[in-house]
């Protein structure tokens, strides 16, 4: 039996150790901090504090509503989503119908191609 408090897990092609990962994460934070320290000391006041949304100046209200997030992705996948919405009718008869459909499919597959070993 393996040692339960050993954090590393060996996978078929490697090893995973969360403690090492945390160490690397902290190290990269340190490096980032070091880079930050090397930066410009005298920061200019001005445009940097202001908030822009799609190139327009936002008037304080920067909160994007949930339905607007990922608009581009949703627009690109419009056909797929239209199909999925049409399939999901919300009618209980269709729910039962889908169940029977999958049942029939599996029965056909296993009856024609054999279910035994």
């Amino acid at each position: 039996m393996m040692n339960p408090f050993n954090p590393s897990i060996s996978t078929p092609s490697g090893i995973w150790n969360p403690l090492v990962w945390i160490l690397v994460f902290l190290l990269s934070l340190l490096i980032a901090y070091a880079i930050y320290l090397k930066g410009e000391k005298q920061r200019k006041k001005g445009m940097q504090e202001e908030i822009f949304l799609s190139g327009n100046k936002a008037d304080g209200n920067t909160h994007i509503k949930a339905s607007n997030i990922g608009w581009g992705y949703l627009e690109a996948m419009k056909g797929y989503y239209k199909l999925m919405r049409d399939i999901h009718t919300g009618i209980i008869n269709d729910y039962v119908g889908w169940f029977l459909g999958v049942l029939a499919t599996m029965l056909l597959i296993f009856l024609f191609w054999g279910g035994a070993q």
Binding site: R85, H88, T89, G90, I91, I92, N93, V96, G97, L100
Partner: protein, 114 residues
């Protein structure tokens, strides 16, 4: 052939019940379809336990000879009990849905979509 009659009626009942569940657009008819399927399954179990010329499986009353199997009958009873609970709950849901939606049409009882 005649001994297959219970199984044929089981299949007919299952098909009727599923037809009601898939094509009838009324919530109560859907529940009735469910109950028909349940009766079909119960009939299937009881007819599985049938022995030709068998008597009821009560030992103290037995004149001897074959008895029908008691296990499928016990299973059927359990399934009937569960069926009563299911129907009661589903019909209560129907009452509540009618109270809030004012309809039992499945095409209108679909405020939850997407």
């Amino acid at each position: 052939m005649i001994f297959n009659a219970p199984f044929i009626s089981v299949m007919i009942l299952v098909i009727f019940g599923l037809y009601a569940m898939v094509f009838r657009r009324n919530l109560i008819k859907v529940v009735i379809g469910l109950d028909i399927v349940e009766s079909a399954v119960n009939l299937f179990m009881v007819s599985l336990g049938y022995v030709k010329n068998g008597i009821a499986p009560i030992y103290t009353n037995s004149p001897g000879g074959a008895m029908v199997l008691p296990t499928p009958q016990a299973l059927t009873l359990t399934s009937i009990v569960i069926g009563v609970a299911t129907s009661a709950m589903l019909l209560s849901f129907c009452i509540l849905i009618y109270r809030y939606y004012g309809t039992l049409d499945t095409r209108k009882v679909r405020r939850l979509r997407e």
